[in-house]
Symmetry: C2
């Protein structure tokens, strides 16, 4: 077994050039990274931000959750009016320097990518054991989805808005995407989190995915109710591993969730060269 087929997905999701960015600080907390033209836009507001060679700092007198949120909304409105940003999304995302519950402010979801803010999601591996055989439920994304239509996906996956608990959001996503009843969702085991950090045309995406394993009864069949999933397939783990290693069929970050599953279930072999790099690559730091 060669690990290069897996590693390339991790490498692609961790490509970024520090030289293209200025770090964004709230108080002394690193909260994000800015690319042009975002930092130039902020430097025009010297009442709010101090901009130097490497860093952009929010005026320390703007020091409450409410004040910071208000300033960010004002700036985001200005960025949309000046076409620095294309649109607002409407959902609120936290601005954090560590965990998602340590938010220093909130911001419109569409702005997260422009400010290089940590974004959070939840991905669930739904699996079935049949004797010694292990099978994974894999979703195929609908053809009309905005990003990665028709691509393969984890059984349940979704973003984490501000102000909803992990447990509540997981129940909501499991219900909407796969019609998993509450008493079964309650058996999902939170098994850790993976992180990656990618440069995009408009900014940086440092993402954290909380991951879950859910062993399903062999007679359970997921059924989509929100139109986001075209079909569900129950595939032998070896077939899933082969698709991840040798194709780009999956939505990119879902590959990492599967790779983490393969590592934790002993399917990716520690005798293989590159094993330690692969594991560390699932935990890149911003």
């Amino acid at each position: 077994m060669k690990l290069q087929g897996y590693q390339r997905h991790i490498d692609r999701l961790n490509e970024w050039n520090r030289d293209n960015f200025k770090a964004l600080y709230f108080d002394s907390h690193l909260v994000g990274y800015l690319k042009e033209p975002v930092w130039s836009f902020l430097s025009s507001r010297s009442d709010l931000f101090t901009v130097n060679e490497r860093e952009v700092s929010l005026n320390p007198q703007i020091n409450s959750f409410e004040q910071r949120t208000e300033v960010l909304d004002e700036v985001v409105n200005g960025m949309v009016e000046s076409s620095v940003m294309t649109h607002r999304h409407g959902e609120r995302y936290p601005v954090t320097h560590a965990d998602r519950d340590s938010a220093l402010a909130t911001i419109d979801r569409a702005a997260a990518a422009y400010f290089g803010l940590r974004a959070y999601g939840q991905h669930l591996n739904g699996y079935v054991r049949n004797g010694s055989e292990l099978l994974l439920w894999i979703a195929r994304r609908s053809a009309d989805r905005r990003v990665f239509p028709d691509h393969l996906d984890n059984m349940v996956a979704g973003g984490l808005p501000h102000d909803i608990s992990l447990a509540d959001n997981l129940h909501k996503e499991c219900q909407e995407e796969a019609s998993v009843p509450s008493h079964i969702v309650a058996q999902a085991v939170p098994i850790g989190a993976i992180t990656y950090c990618t440069e995009t045309p408009v900014g940086l995406k440092p993402d954290t995915l909380y991951c879950y394993d859910l062993e399903l009864p062999s007679d359970f069949v997921p059924y989509n109710s929100d139109g986001e999933v075209a079909e569900f397939m129950l595939l032998p783990i070896e077939e899933v591993a082969e698709r991840v290693a040798n194709s780009d069929d999956f939505k990119p970050n879902c590959n990492l969730v599967v790779i983490d599953f393969l590592v934790r279930h002993g399917i990716i072999n520690p005798e293989t060269q590159g094993y330690l790099k692969l594991i560390n690559g699932l935990h890149e730091k911003l």
Copy 2:
């Protein structure tokens, strides 16, 4: 639940001051870190090493596995004669820049700590399920062990010498330490690896522990045959978690193996502040 009780073990095993060290390079590969008086000793051999402000580099003409091993043995002999090192160990350890199977040379095991070389071990969590209850087999180290006598330990744990496969070494350690028969060891699931990096009086310890989960039959009782273990106890997972969080009863690095187990089995809760820091802390990079 607060995570501080767990986090302190990770923090303690990741304390080091870069200013105390020079990086050691073989070709362009970073293989270790040197403290005084080791780098001064090496600078006296300008035929073999180039020493500057931040780095020590092996002469690039010494470019085969055998040549490097020979040079290191010569240097280690000199260090023992000059009392820079106290003793030789006799066992061979790999000198690596990534995985253990990418060795550029070997060196006496006792020298690893002085050269800041990556060292590798295997730790196994032996557990039992009793309905919804989860129990862990915990070892108490013998009173006559050189390091951490009487401390708690994972069911099986041992260092990984050069030139033995992970599978073979695991079988050997499981047999010696806990009398686990081969057909049961074969069911151990490799679930990943944890890494940490600690400053010691003589050098740096960047360690990698390959971790395994082994579900044991409820009637299996481990029995020690090499004198390294004083007793084995089967403890409810909640009691083990409490001991790790609130005491220093465990050998330090064994705490990290238990913490990783608690994360992967959903016992450490992702709703708790500090969860992401804790997980990333189990994967520190050299």
